[in-house]
Amino acid sequence: MANSTLSNETVYSKLKEKFGEAISESQEPFDLLTVEVSLAEIHNVIEWLKNEPSLQINYLTLIGGIHYPENTGRELGVTYHLHSLIHNFRIRLKTFLSIENPTIPTITDLYIGANWMERETFDFYGVIFSGHTNLTRILNEDSMDYFPMRKEFRLEDGTREDKDDRFFGR
């Protein structure tokens, strides 16, 4: 971040020092520090970032899901965008889980605003946030029995034969 009082290196080295192996990969796409955190430590990392006096990364911007069908054993991803309004520093945390057991601890105990964001992620990707008090569908209808944002659900009817899209890279 251009006008931030924290640098990506500082935050990354502090995270690495505190959590070691749980922080596996880091990138900086467009200057935004992106770290991959192990599933077991994700809650602790977010809690530590919030409470560590030298960082104060305590504003939750966004929680979202993503689905990579080819990554066996870690098909579903959850991304957290956090922001320190004091230092004007943004960070993106990622964690991956298997589609057979997509369970991740909730962070509603740290941020009340995570409530609906987690419900939305559950609604569209089927990620189960354990400890969430009301993990029900939010935008889709309650009787739906699948998770529509997963990649196996194509937007257009795959059985159509009247269209030939081969030449257009579709």
């Binding site: 467009f30 004007n88 569209f124």
Partner: protein, 409 residues
């Protein structure tokens, strides 16, 4: 509509004991379609007389699966989806989305384009805040201000029409800038607006700001503290009304906002009156930003040099091989896009409007997520209206400026 429940149904709720009138609690459906809710919002209220004891929202009535649709569309066709998020200020959504793509493809935007965008975005912000504030007036029983302010909003829409041909769902601009220069008619309409609007706006302000009835009605209606607002991830005018000066335009300037001189108004109580006042002052600041942008407008082209995304002039398409190829590739959605992930946010009418885009190099985004400020702060609504009256609930809803399109995506 209302179903009477006996006290025994709610014995577990301790806060009911002392407050009830003759021991009865009613369940009331506020919405989904009701003139007072200005959109498709359903709230199931448990009320004791006029007083709200508990509220539960139901959202998703107009969910249109934009994030899913975006995964199949070429990049330049997604702009029309963003129109329909916060439809009171579509141009901000359009331009925010364009800037996300420009960030991803590493496109340098000419200064003139950035200033033109600032003018459009600030006009959209004025239109957005005018709707919200004049509707607060309506909900307190003052219809007059609303009719006058909506005439002014029409003038802003006339200007959008000059720029892009549409009024509400604008699809304004292109990736890289604007499809053509602002017309002389746009500039003359804008000058007229800047001349006439402040006086009318001051009249509207006089009607409400120090009005005894309005103040009694709005002060302490639907309050939230700064701490709670931050925990709920509030942003925009609602957060600033609670006293936190977080504005994306200042915190992470985009589109040359650092060139302009403006202040960020903040409130202290986070109640309906403060939200109203913050929006009023933001309208004045927006007018000042537009004036500064007009005065300092640099010379230059009205779009960046991105032939992969910006349609060539039609005449060249007929005469020039290269232009024809680019035209074909853009129209068929065959434009190469780098692999990468990017988060970009702008200050929308309601707060931090973010676009989180993951590209795998294909013709459509692998994942496009919108950070919709309404969806995030509407969570706090039950907390804000518990203990208040039903008429306060209506006021709180309109002063939070919850837009159904943005809420349900």
């Amino acid at each position: 509509m209302s179903e009477k429940l006996t006290k025994s149904d709610f014995e577990s709720a301790s806060y009911l004991s002392s407050e009830t009138i003759d021991g009865d609690i009613a369940t009331l459906n506020l919405g989904p379609t009701h003139p007072a809710t200005h959109g498709i919002f359903q709230n199931i209220l448990k009320v004791d007389g006029e007083k709200i004891l508990e509220a539960t929202q139901t959202v998703g009535y107009i969910h249109r699966a934009f994030e899913k649709i975006a995964e199949r569309r070429p990049y330049n066709q997604i702009t029309t989806l963003t129109d329909r998020l916060n439809y009171c200020s579509s141009p901000i959504n359009n331009i925010g989305y364009h800037m996300t793509i420009e960030k991803l493809i590493g496109c340098e935007i000419p200064k003139r384009v950035q200033y033109m965008r600032v003018i459009i975005m600030e006009l959209a912000r004025i239109a957005d805040h005018l709707v919200c504030n004049s509707v607060i007036g309506v909900d307190t029983g003052a219809l007059t201000g609303f009719t006058y302010m909506f005439q002014q909003r029409e003038k802003i829409y006339d200007m959008f029409e000059e720029v892009c041909g549409a009024r509400l769902t604008t699809n304004l601009g292109r990736i890289g800038g604007f499809d053509h220069e602002f017309s002389p008619a746009f500039y003359s309409k804008l000058e007229d607006f800047l001349k006439e609007f402040p006086a009318l706006f001051a009249e509207f302000d006089n009607l409400l700001t120090r009005n005894r009835i309005f103040m009694d009605r709005t002060i302490n209606s639907g309050p939230i503290s700064a701490e709670r607002a931050l925990e709920y991830s509030f942003s925009g005018p609602n957060l600033r009304a609670a006293g936190v000066d977080y504005d994306v335009r200042v915190m992470n300037p985009y589109s040359s906002y650092e060139d302009f001189d403006f202040i960020i108004p903040v409130g202290s109580n986070g109640d309906t009156y403060d939200r109203f006042q913050v929006r009023q002052e933001e309208i004045r600041q927006s007018l000042s930003i537009i004036r500064q942008a007009l005065d300092k407008m640099p010379e230059g082209p009205c779009h960046a040099d991105v032939p992969d995304f910006f349609l060539p002039p039609k005449q060249e398409v007929y005469e020039n091989m290269e232009a024809l190829i680019y035209h074909f590739k853009i129209v068929m959605g065959e434009t190469p896009v780098p692999v990468g992930e990017v988060y970009h946010s702008v200050e929308g009418g309601n707060g931090e409007l973010g676009f989180y885009l993951i590209s795998d190099g294909g013709r459509s985004p692998y994942r496009l997520q919108f950070r919709r400020p309404c969806f995030i702060y509407y969570q706090a609504y039950p907390e804000m209206i518990t203990g208040q009256t039903i008429s306060d609930a209506v006021l709180t809803l309109s002063s939070m400026n919850v837009i159904a399109g943005e809420l349900d995506a």
